[in-house]
């Protein structure tokens, strides 16, 4: 069962670690100072959440959070491709839409994990949900506000939503060993979580006339495999940057 537990916790942790890094890239570049601070603060939370998930594995005698974060090979990561995507041209609409999709997914996953039969995870989910509420509020407030503002804002949101919706869909890719996890009562099936996520994001997008169409299998194909160790083309560059300091002196004590 420890193998399944590692898959589940790494899927959760790796999403947070990588989006934490991507969101931190906005520091100093936000469109207004308050957004700079917001993304910095959210990024700090996400990185801390990743560390707390890794720690649950460390507590079982598995590697330390630093080893998980900085000393794995690409194929050992279990992140969704959504969080690996770069900040293309630093388009704020793209950043907000990714934040919106990711944080809606976090809400749905953490709500479900509060009921997990794996108690350390249920306890952690309860904690993280209390912190994440501010992220979700930030995300949907901006989407609503910009979705009702200018034609340009609406156009840019639509474009970001159309590009990112299939990636977000694959956040709920079926996990390896998912049947065992569901039978153990750790969490509901990914397909059910995706349904709950759709119920969270679609009414908001519909009210703004921004609802995307559901992606076809063809569209989803290149976005598959994140949970199974297949990385997107953007991962290597991201990981090289994230590990630049730790790999300069691998034995350093921090």
């Amino acid at each position: 069962m420890i193998e399944a537990l590692e898959i589940l916790l790494l899927s959760l942790a790796d999403d947070d670690l990588l989006i934490g890094h991507r969101e931190a890239e906005w520091i100093g570049l936000g469109p207004i100072l308050e957004e700079d601070i917001a993304f910095a603060s959210i990024a700090q939370d996400e990185t801390g959440h990743a560390q707390a998930y890794y720690q649950l594995l460390t507590d079982l005698g598995l590697p330390t959070p630093d080893e998980y974060a900085f000393k794995r090979s690409a194929s050992q990561f279990r992140s969704a491709h959504l969080v690996e995507l770069p900040n293309f041209d630093y388009d704020y609409a793209m950043a907000l839409v990714r934040h919106f999709f990711h944080d809606a997914a976090e809400q749905v996953r953490l709500e479900a994990l509060r009921q997990s039969s794996y108690e350390p995870l249920a306890g952690l989910a309860e904690r993280l949900l209390r912190e994440e509420k501010y992220h979700w509020m930030h995300a949907h407030t901006w989407i609503r506000r910009l979705g009702r503002s200018t034609e340009e804002a609406h156009f840019r949101l639509r474009s970001a939503i159309d590009q990112l919706f299939p990636y977000a869909w694959m956040v709920f890719e079926e996990l390896p060993m998912e049947t065992e996890m569901v039978e153990a009562g750790w969490l509901p099936p990914s397909s059910e979580l995706r349904q709950r996520w759709l119920e969270k994001v679609m009414p908001i997008l519909e009210s703004l006339n921004l609802a995307p169409t559901f992606p076809s299998e063809d569209v989803l194909l290149p976005m598959r495999g994140g949970r199974h160790g297949l990385r997107s083309p953007y991962f290597d560059e991201l990981y090289a940057e994230m590990t630049e300091v730790s790999s300069a002196d691998p034995d350093a004590e921090w």
């Binding site: 996400e46 306890g123 912190e131």
Partner: protein, 161 residues
Amino acid sequence: MSLQVSADSIREWLRTVPDPEIPHVSVVDMGMIGEIKVSDSQVSVELIPTFAGCPAIKLLQSQIQTLLRERGLEAKVEVRYDRPWRVEDMSPAGWQALRRAGFAIPKKLSPDPSEMLSEVSCPRCGSEAVSLSSPFGPTACRAIFRCHSCGEAFELFKPPL
């Protein structure tokens, strides 16, 4: 040799350890110290971070250990992420210290953050004519507001909800 010290006296000593981000309040009054266990030869202290991403946790761990070592105790400081920090665990002295430090404090601890952020008054002049500049501030537990009566910016102490 068994230790001649009670958990209560250790808790008292820890009142001298400030919250690293809001140094006006001790970690005890912040409700960050959970169970303290004294066994035959060892002390263990539970440390409950307010936010999981708090960067000061390692610092706090070593400050607590140093303080207890100066009093002849070797302590294990166990960081508990697997349960939430609850604002209800703050002491009345903790709330008072926050007020004295110039923070606005939430009037109502609703689980809905937008509700909590919409009922805030200025800690300087008491006016309710305030607006939220940013729900995120210099640390995870602060939000930034502006008062339209006295014109000052201020911070709300923002707990996980």
